[in-house]
C-alpha cells in the first residue's frame, strides 16, 4: 500500500530524515516507535506531502505521491491524524467532520453517523464547539475527521499521547476496530505496549533514521534492543 524509499527530509538547512525506508502492506498496521524528536512526525508529514522529501520516493497504491500537495495525497485515500490534535476549535464537532467529508478513491463509505458509532462520545457532543472538548474527545474527533475523507490508509501521529489510561484504552480499541475493518495504518508512538497491541510490523527510529525493523512476533525477543533505542 505504502512504500517509502530512502527519504531525506530537511527543515530549511536542517537535515532531519536520513534514508528512511518503510513499507506498509494493505490491511496491516505498522508502528514507528521512537523518543520525542527522532523524526516520527516528520516521517508522517513527509508521506502526507506537508514536508516534502528532498530525496527519495514515496509510492501509495503503486503511484508516486512525493511532490504532490497534501490535498491531492488526501484525495488519493490517505487520512492524516496529526499530533497535538489540531481540531478546528471554533467549529462544532459536526462541522469539523463536514469540512473533512469527501469521497476518496477506494474508501470505506464513511459518514458522520458511522464515525459516531466508532466514537459514541462524539455523538453526544455533536453540536459542541471542538475547542470545548476534553483532550481525549478531541483525539477521537481528529480520527473521526480523518475517516470522513474515506481513506484507505490512516497516518496516526501519537494518538494516545498525553491521555488518561482509560482514554488510552478506549482509543486503542477504536484503532483496533478500524484495523479489523480493513484500514491500513502507519502509527507513530513512544510506547512499546501500545505498539505491541496494534502493530503487525515495527520500525524504531533514532536521530532521523530507522534503526530497527521487525515483526510483531520478534518484539519480545528483541525487546532489549528496542528499549535501548527508546531510553534517553
Amino acid at each position: 500500500m505504502l512504500e517509502c524509499d530512502r527519504l531525506h527530509t530537511y527543515y530549511g538547512a536542517a537535515h532531519v530524515l536520513f534514508a528512511v525506508s518503510l513499507n506498509v502492506a494493505p490491511g496491516t498496521a505498522a508502528c514507528i516507535l521512537g523518543r520525542n524528536g527522532v523524526g516520527k512526525s516528520t516521517t508522517l508529514r513527509t508521506v502526507m506531502g506537508l514536508t516534502p522529501p528532498r530525496e527519495g520516493s514515496i509510492l501509495f497504491k503503486g503511484r508516486r505521491i512525493d511532490g504532490l500537495p497534501a490535498y491531492k495525497v488526501a484525495r488519493m485515500g490517505l487520512g492524516y491524524v496529526p499530533e497535538d490534535r489540531r481540531v478546528f476549535a471554533e467549529l462544532s464537532v459536526e462541522d469539523n467532520l463536514l469540512v473533512a467529508e469527501r469521497q476518496a478513491e477506494g474508501g470505506f463509505g464513511w459518514t458522520a453517523e458511522r464515525a459516531f458509532e466508532v466514537f459514541p462520545a462524539l455523538q453526544e457532543f455533536r453540536t459542541r464547539l471542538a475547542g470545548f472538548l476534553s483532550g481525549g474527545q478531541q483525539q477521537m474527533l481528529t480520527i473521526a475527521r480523518a475517516l470522513m475523507g474515506n481513506p484507505s490508509m490512516l497516518l496516526l501521529d501519537e494518538p494516545t499521547e498525553g491521555l488518561s489510561p482509560v482514554m488510552v484504552k478506549t482509543l486503542e480499541e477504536a484503532i483496533l476496530s478500524l484495523k479489523r475493518e480493513g484500514l491500513t495504518m502507519l502509527v507513530a508512538a513512544q510506547d512499546m505496549h501500545f505498539a505491541a497491541k496494534v502493530a503487525d510490523h515495527l520500525y524504531v527510529m533514532n536521530r532521523g533514521a530507522i534503526v530497527y525493523e521487525g515483526q510483531r512476533a520478534d518484539m519480545e525477543r528483541d525487546a532489549a534492543v528496542i528499549q535501548s533505542h527508546l531510553v534517553v
Binding site: 496529526p82 478546528f88 476549535a89 467549529l91 469540512v99
Partner: protein, 290 residues
C-alpha cells in the same frame, strides 16, 4: 444633542463602507496570511469604474445599480487574476515577498488609473431617488447614508450566514484557524485561496462603488482606505468578520466625533484607538489568541 446623533449616524454610514472593504481584507489576511496592500487599489479601481459606468449610463438609478454590479465584478476578476498569476507563485516564500508584490501592484494600478482616468478629481452623482434626506428628530440626514447603513448590515448578515451555514464558509473558518490541516483533509487549498481572494476583492470593489457618490474620486483614495482598513483588521482581529464590523464602526464613529471636537486631530483618533487595542488586547477585540 441631535447634532451629535446625526454625526454618529454619519460615522456609522462611513463605518459601513469601511466594514465592507475591511471584511474582504480580514478574510484574505486570515486565510492566505497575506497583508494585501493592493486591497486599496481594488477599492480605487471600483470607484473609477463606477464613475465611467454612471457617465455612460447617465446619472439615474439604472446607472447607479449597473455600477454596483459591474464595478465589484471587474475588481473581483482583477483579484482572481492577481491571485492565480502572481500570488500563487510565491505563496511558499517568506511573507515579505508577498508584501513587496502587493505593494508593487498598488504602484502599477495607481499608474494605470492615472493613464486611463487622469489625475483630475471626479465625482459620481447620486441617483435622484437617493439625493434628498430624511428627517431624524427634525434634523436632516442624507438618504444615501441610510442606504449605506442598510447595505452594510445586509452584507454583514450575508457574510455571517455564509460563514456559519455554508460548507465554503465553514471550510474558510477552518482555514483561518489551521490552513495546513485543511489541506491535509483534502480541501483544494489553491482553489480556496483563489475563492477567498476573489471574494475579498469583490467586497473591496463593492465598498469602492458605494463610496463613489459620497466623496470625490481621485488618485490617493487607495492609500487612505488601506490605512483605515488595516486599522480595522487589527482592532477587530485578523480573520474575524464580526471584528471587522465592530472595528469599522469604532473607527467611523470616532472619526465623525473627532471631526466635531477637534477637526485637525480627527485622524489621530484612529491611531489612538489602534494603539489602545494593541496594548490591551493585541489579538484584536474579537480575534483569537495565536
Amino acid at each position: 444633542m441631535t447634532d451629535v446623533l446625526i454625526q454618529i449616524l454619519s460615522g456609522v454610514s462611513r463605518g459601513m463602507v469601511l466594514f465592507i472593504v475591511a471584511s474582504g481584507l480580514t478574510l484574505i489576511f486570515g486565510v492566505l496570511r497575506v497583508a494585501n496592500f493592493a486591497h486599496g487599489s481594488f477599492y480605487m479601481v471600483a470607484a473609477f469604474v463606477t464613475y465611467t459606468v454612471t457617465r455612460m449610463a447617465g446619472g439615474g438609478m439604472p446607472g447607479f445599480l449597473a455600477s454596483l454590479v459591474i464595478a465589484p465584478l471587474c475588481v473581483a476578476a482583477l483579484g482572481a487574476a492577481i491571485e492565480m498569476l502572481l500570488l500563487r507563485r510565491i505563496q511558499h516564500r517568506d511573507h515579505f515577498y508577498q508584501l513587496i508584490l502587493t505593494f508593487a501592484i498598488t504602484l502599477i494600478v495607481a499608474d494605470g488609473v492615472k493613464m486611463i482616468w487622469g489625475r483630475d478629481y471626479r465625482s459620481v452623482p447620486r441617483p435622484q431617488l437617493l439625493e434628498g434626506s430624511i428627517s431624524i428628530f427634525g434634523s436632516p440626514f442624507p438618504s444615501y447614508y441610510v442606504l449605506l447603513i442598510v447595505i452594510g448590515l445586509v452584507i454583514a448578515l450575508a457574510l455571517r450566514l455564509m460563514l456559519e451555514r455554508t460548507r465554503f464558509g465553514k471550510t474558510l473558518r477552518a482555514a483561518v484557524a489551521d490552513g495546513e490541516m485543511v489541506g491535509a483533509l483534502g480541501v483544494n487549498v489553491p482553489l480556496l485561496y483563489t475563492g477567498v481572494f476573489t471574494l475579498g476583492a469583490w467586497l473591496a470593489g463593492l465598498g469602492g462603488a458605494l463610496a463613489a457618490p459620497v466623496g470625490s474620486i481621485a488618485i490617493g483614495i487607495d492609500n487612505s482606505i488601506i490605512i483605515e482598513s488595516f486599522a480595522v483588521v487589527i482592532i477587530g482581529g485578523v480573520g474575524s468578520v464580526s471584528g471587522a464590523l465592530v472595528g469599522a464602526l469604532v473607527i467611523g464613529v470616532l472619526q465623525a466625533i473627532g471631526i466635531m471636537v477637534a477637526p485637525r486631530l480627527a485622524i489621530a483618533f484612529i491611531f489612538i484607538a489602534l494603539c489602545a487595542v494593541l496594548l490591551l488586547r493585541p489579538q484584536g477585540l474579537l480575534g483569537r489568541r495565536a
